[in-house]
Chain length 337, copies 2
DNA sequence: TATCCATTTGCAAACGATTGCAAAAAAGAA
DNA sequence: TTCTTTTTTGCAATCGTTTGCAAATGGATA
């Protein structure tokens, strides 16, 4: 530790022969202060490497300028290789938050105990939450509302509640994928979804159904299966589909990771991709591109989603304005379909 | 916001008819307090959803129980799809830190201005740093030492400095990969490294050289190329190698992402993998497994590395004990070699 | 010179916890 | 009962900022 004995505003004040109020104002660029004084003090502070003590400021102004990201129910999995999606959205959030002058905290929220939210919010550690989960956690959301904690969630908002949200355009996503497969001349297009009771997945299914109907086709339950976004569940669901409908010639999968698993199963069954079975993924996460059979997929622009989550949460904190934004999706055609 | 007017220790004190010192001690489980009083107060606090205000505590005890992760020079890239490695180590760090009672902050350090470290440390926002970069940033490290900021870095420590570090066993990694290729009967084994002036890469090269020598072979400069860990640089370096040595029959690549790029180039050149050219990657990051041609690679156990970074930094903060740990690596044989 | 506005600055009271020290209460000894 | 000793609690100072209000400073004007 260096022997520096000047670290606080008081110290600077003494050096500059002004009061600490003046130093505080100088460092916060207050208009109350004469520019010359400001310059002089700022220079002094810089020279001595003094910056405002965050704890003290937070205590005084009663906010932390810190946002926590919470992933209820999936603490572990969120950071696992399984969840590339989580990692990528984290990037978008982090970058945007910092440009807004906020810090990002990786929160340790116990999903079984929504009260743990309070140890972050009630304690003044964070000013708000960004909730990113693969499915909607109602208990968690209700708890945040009860506590009056500002938050924003990734995903289709629950009916009957009014809170900030950002979500992809899942209906369009489902349509784009399915239309592409129809245009390719595919006759028996399967749907391999995420968790079946989630609104997000239901929207994608709706898009799938719409596209089929528009082409004069019908949905067939034996062409439908669900997984939970994991690689293993993708393997599993694809096997079921192939068993139920050996003659399927295309499949629309709700995540890239599951799509890659599906491709593996299809290839191992002796079929070719895309010649025999075309595959469309979802998200356009990095592995979609780097995969040796580059994935045709629905791009979510995950970093943008992260950015919007950050922006809208901060706006809500500052103005109380509740926003719902849906980000557009696009079809990215590569090799798998 | 709920109309709750009891949020501070003082409020609880009033309710419990004790002093706030007593409440503070109860909530911190101080041995100075009678167990019955403690129970009573803790119950009361829980009931009213009161938890200690972190800013106030931090101000008083002069520490934040928060660690920042810094990735100098790569702020953007660290969170990009390119850097799966960064994401995975982040997971290990986050999980361990939280179990040690620390929070993890995603820091916004400007690599061109090492002074920005001070806005985190000098301001009392964080207690220490975890530095994870693809190459050693000397200026940054010198600045931290100068400021007396506790930190730990991922990678081989610079000569002449004494600071905490965690690093993979790169020499062994290079040997294992090369030995495996030799055992496969390969005759012309190329080395596709990361940044050539980095100690980490030099160690891997040393392992490569050792293995060759032990087998009575020599290194050949036309079998050596370097990239910067990006996918694009992998494509590029592999093209150079193939041009310089069209007859090479194996390549040891310093990262999985570059290995996947290399495979792409090899396949496009009309050669088969692994029949014509065997490829070994490095890290065993998720895409190595999920790739449709699963990668043979050197597993780093990245999450463990993250865990060790967290543990040893906290130990250093608490005891001042400087540690250097190298984590073991292992060969994972899949399809590419 | 005296008076009156702007401008600039300083005073001092918060913010909500922790903790050394001393006082009070309880328990034990004589 | 009285005097120690031990256990339990409270007092009050402190951590480093911010900010409403008042005071001081400096021209400009009369």
């Amino acid at each position: 530790m260096s022997k520096k004995s000047i670290q606080t505003l008081d110290d600077i004040a003494r050096l500059a022969k002004v009061s600490k109020s003046t130093v505080s104002r100088a460092l916060n660029d207050s208009p109350l202060l004469n520019q010359k004084t400001k310059d002089r003090i700022q220079a002094l502070a810089k020279k001595h490497n003094v910056s405002i003590n965050v704890s003290a400021r937070n205590l005084r102004v009663r906010q932390s300028h810190t946002i926590a990201i919470v992933t209820p129910g999936l603490e572990k999995k969120f950071f696992s290789p399984e969840s590339l999606f989580g990692f990528e959205i984290l990037g978008g959030i982090g970058n945007e938050l910092r440009s807004l002058g906020y810090d990002l905290l990786i929160a340790n929220i116990d999903s079984t105990d929504p009260k743990s939210i309070n140890s972050y919010f009630g304690s003044g550690r964070v000013d708000g939450f960004i909730v990113v989960t693969p499915y909607t956690n109602q208990a968690m959301i209700e708890k945040m509302i009860e506590l009056g904690a500002p938050f924003i969630v990734w995903g289709v908002p629950m009916a009957g509640f009014d809170y900030c949200s950002v979500t992809g355009d899942n209906i369009t996503g489902g349509m784009l994928a399915t239309q592409h497969l129809i245009q390719l001349g595919r006759q028996r297009i399967a749907f391999l979804g995420g968790l079946s009771d989630d609104l997000t997945v239901q929207h994608r299914y709706q898009g799938y159904e719409n596209a089929l109907k528009a082409a004069g086709r019908r949905t067939l339950s034996k062409l439908i299966a669900y997984g939970d976004y994991s690689y293993a569940s993708g393997l599993d669901a694809m096997q079921r589909l192939l068993k139920q409908s050996p003659d399927l010639d295309a499949v629309f999968v709700n995540s890239d990771l599951m799509a890659i698993a599906a491709i593996k199963v299809i290839l191992e069954s002796g079929r070719r991709v895309p010649e025999d079975v075309a595959v469309v993924g979802y998200d356009d996460v990095s592995i979609a591109l780097y995969n040796n059979l580059p994935l045709t997929t629905i791009r979510q622009n995950v970093p943008l989603a992260g950015q919007l989550l950050a922006q809208n949460l901060i706006r809500y904190i500052k103005t109380g304005e509740v926003s719902h934004v849906t980000t557009s999706v696009e079809l990215v055609v590569r090799k798998s379909a």
